[in-house]
Symmetry: C2
Amino acid sequence: MALVTEPTIIFPENTVSQDEMVQVLENLFPYHPKWDTIERMIRNTEVENRHLLSPINQVVTHPGFEFRNNLYKDEGLKMSVDATQKALDKQNMSPQDIDLIIVVSCTGFLMPSLTSYIISSMDFRPETKQLPVIQLGCAAGAWAINRAYEYLKAYPDQNVLLVSVEFSSLLFQPNDQKISSLISDCLFGDAVSASIIKGTPETGDEGYHIDGITSYVKKNTDHYIKYDVKSTGFHFDLDKMVMHSIKDVAPIMEKFIDGNSSKKVNELDFHIFHTGGKKIMDELVSNLNLDEATIGFSRKSLKNHGNIASGVVLDVLKEEFSSNTKKDGDKGIMAAFGPGFTAEINYGTWIQN
Amino acid sequence: MALVTEPTIIFPENTVSQDEMVQVLENLFPYHPKWDTIERMIRNTEVENRHLLSPINQVVTHPGFEFRNNLYKDEGLKMSVDATQKALDKQNMSPQDIDLIIVVSCTGFLMPSLTSYIISSMDFRPETKQLPVIQLGCAAGAWAINRAYEYLKAYPDQNVLLVSVEFSSLLFQPNDQKISSLISDCLFGDAVSASIIKGTPETGDEGYHIDGITSYVKKNTDHYIKYDVKSTGFHFDLDKMVMHSIKDVAPIMEKFIDGNSSKKVNELDFHIFHTGGKKIMDELVSNLNLDEATIGFSRKSLKNHGNIASGVVLDVLKEEFSSNTKKDGDKGIMAAFGPGFTAEINYGTWIQN
């Protein structure tokens, strides 16, 4: 009832390598008392390259919350329109074919939302429904697919456009010098992604067909992943306790997959996991007894782009399309994790009509 | 398939009358060159009283975006839990009966969202789904009911909790001295509202049963209602052009109601309109040829509480419950307007089981 078609991922043209970023931070904080620890931890992130909305020297200089949020709007809209057009073209569809636009993001705040700007900027119908969400962080990509599944269960002849807009570089805070902040500065990457989710697969369609969904909130863990909202904008704050959340969510994934397919997670044909970071992926491998190859595309996404937040699951899904290893009927799981602590999980079938 | 049950509205204990507010602003801006115009326009808002999160002397003194946003979180959560418990009690339900929590708001930004804080603070199930939206302004109340309708169309045996958290007083900007800003300072009020939306009405239930929904975006009117996001927080900006939007949305309402009931809007038994302000209501009366009595509850809400943003439609709906004038089978419309320019509209039947 919900076919997630091939995503389009658009990266801004500026890049920064791990080596360059180490140099930039060392120059910014030449007297940091924990520098050796920080450098070792950055080297251990396995993030080798990231794309940035602006050149790195601009990223690390705070031009004010207002300037950054205006940049978010201008570039976010431009790249959203570009990604949307490409995603529509892949399906031979036009904006007129879309009934609901979901925009997920956690790196800027606009009112009106990007949903209405996108509707105005392209040939969408005035009655197109809007679902703009900016408070679910890295869980928001899988979350949006789960909400699209529910929507298309009610309206199986309709179609949903999903857009993810993530410019984490706009959250670089030069005065946040905690170890965890400096590691985060080297973890997240910028990208805008789009995918069409169709209510009814047609002949010739290929994609990830959602068969079931579930959500999970680990209570009283709001401090695991959070923003402090200040005059300087959003300050990302990560508690290393978040690593322990995977051991709680793993049995929930197992129970959910068992209920849908009588299989174990590691018996599925493909796995689309959010790449919170190296440690999160190690925890997934360990707690779900996964073959390392299973999460190869997630590792690759992290290595080449950093954590692109809500866009990660779309980037990993795109790799599944590009791999040409999928066959009709393959079974898979998607799971993403974010603030709350929230996990959004779905199960489905690869379709090649 | 979606029964909106009696809302609970909670107002903070501080209040400010129109007379007091005129005095406060005159003291703040004793040399304002347009003061006479401003005072006349404030007197014309027909807002006589408003509830405020803090005493008025605190409201008009900007303590910083961070302080305000923390207040938003602490008081927003406390009042959300209170309103939720009361709304559940009215239906003899517990948090365990809720499958989806929608929190709409446009006066603060939290990550994690209030949805996860509410789940942690009460006896909700960990698999409760979250839908937090903060970018749809005054349209968000009717928007949320429309999304709940779609959700319950897919899951008719489930229930949705809707919470609206609006503290517009946290957006008072002492440096915004445009006429439109000073009028807005006297227009909006604070409130937290909650309502349970049931997928399947049961014996003894009363409420507004949604039979149909529609959405509308007037393209290229993002400047009608918008926030400028700055280091000082959200700056509300209203273009008086927004008044002309009602003449565009009126025929859309007529067509929608005709398609659902073969009636005109003014032939319906009840009307739940967002109270954007006096002029918006005058435009509704004029463009829909309404009897003035039709919008009595909307006028009353504006007069006694100011525009409580996404909560208005819930407050007006509550008046419909309290009025004891509704009878089983009555037909009605709900419509709210917000940034985009966006209108969210639904049609339904009063049910007394």
